[in-house]
Amino acid sequence: MEALEMYTTDERSDVYTEELKLNLGPQHPSTHGVLRVELKMDGEIITDSRCDIGYLHRCAEKIGENVTYLQFTPYTDRMDYLASMNNNLAWSLTVEKLMGLEVPERAQWLRMICSELNRIASHLIAFGTYGIDIGANTPFFYAFRERESIMQLLERPSGARMLYNYIQPGGVRRDVDDNWIGDVLAFCDEFEKRWAEYNTLLSNNYIFIKRTANIGILTQSMALDYGCTGPVLRGSGVRWDLRRDVPYLEPYDEVDFDVPVGEGTHGALGDCWDRYWVRMREMMESIRIIRQGCAKLPGGEVMTKKQTSMYKSPMKAAEGAHAYMRCENPRGELAFYAVSEGGTSPIRLRARAPSFCNLAVLDQLLPGTMLGDGVAIIGSLDIVLGEVDR
């Protein structure tokens, strides 16, 4: 950070300078959605920042109170639209916990494989758009080449390319055949070669390292205090991953993978590069999980009997019951809190979105950095405004 001390303005300067108020957003190429940050600038250096969100608020929680439990699943797709499989999983687990539904073995393994595939697709977008934020346009297209093959893989069982509505309370919508498993394994081998290519092109590029190391340093205490989770928290050195520490799906116990954590390789611990590198290594961990998942996929049903009846007549939850279920999304811990009073729909439905808490830190990280770094910090937090505003 020594480069910046030199530039801070000193009060004695006789030149009359005014503070520039700059609106970063809501229509801006690198706010990853409709986010407006009111910046007070002193030349290139940001002196104060205030986030203004709510441009994409679609009152999903009010709709949740008016539709049945099953009908709300497509709305969870639209919260974090880059990782909609994981959103479906979180919502289905909340409903199953609330109603005590039993999910067959094969459905759980399919859920794990599909949500890990969706995690890779989501991290690929984070990698691609981060390259564009720093100015390298090419990695984005390589990332989308892999993402396209994932989307075509997930399209076959679910029927949609991006908003799947595949994991529903009680199991999964449709079974998969064997050549789908073969294609998934073929994708995993192909991806490993491409992953090495990304690193030579962007991760180890000296300019990229200079632009991201020692920028936006998030200390562990601030990350915990602000409730940051996922790669943002792991980038600051906290080795915490719900899939391993509080497994919400049995298959995660029978699969071994390790949790990558930021080590401050190119600068202070918890800078933009660490968050970025944690995401890149998480992609390879997901590949390991998928391979083991495809090997151990058991046979059997994919949907509970109660659920097929649930399509016809919506199920009721117990009187006065409430359930809170946390799941590991690519961006952090997504949790749903459903409070029911016996009806077919909850009386209160709260979605705790990871990007919502990760974004709260932005106002602490931006002051003191330059405009170019501000864009790098927003990119490294990898926020999706669909789930920040819900």
């Binding site: 609106n23 009111e38 969100i53 929680e61 409730g227 906290v238 520490d245 209160r348």
Partner: protein, 218 residues
Amino acid sequence: MGMNEREIHALLTASGIDGVGGLEQPDLDPTVVLQPSALVEVMTLLRDDERLAMEMLHCVTAVDREDRVDVVYHVCSFARHHALTLRTSVAKPDDADESWHPEVPSVASVYAAADWHEREQWDLLGVHFTGHPDLRRLLLPPEWIGHPLRKDYVYPSEHGGIPLELDAVPIYERDEREDTPPVAEPRPAGTPLNQPPSAPSARPHAGGKAPAKKEGEG
């Protein structure tokens, strides 16, 4: 490894802070009931006591029931691998209408995460968190009137001159529709572009003619 909720509850009652109630619904999601006054003390104890070590406030939710308004806190610990749900509630007076705001002390001083969570609950449900550093609306435009997630919330017919959904009746009781959308009268010249509601208690739903566009659109 982690302590289960019953042990945590026992530890909390043993700590001598008055206002710690019983344990609710032990089978699904055990919840510790608290008086609003005991909130900040219990939260600081949860965060600082190394046996509990609740490093993170995971989520703050306000629930609008018939007779009361609950505020539910979920805290979790990474070191001890356990989590806890706490609930405080404010009874609703029978003449509770649009401008009634339950008062709950803010825990933003204990967990910084509470800052945005509490602002959102104030925005959507009108729970006034006393002691919050900067209690403004988070998601809705600053001059919005009313709190949408309340059960008795009536949809405004238009906002800032834009006619919203044709019928103001809540979605699930929609039977017939008016043909022509209400024509919004042009905003009289000279009304200031955007003045936020004066005190935290917003003006009653008067005529529904909210002043013009969201700040920052200009």
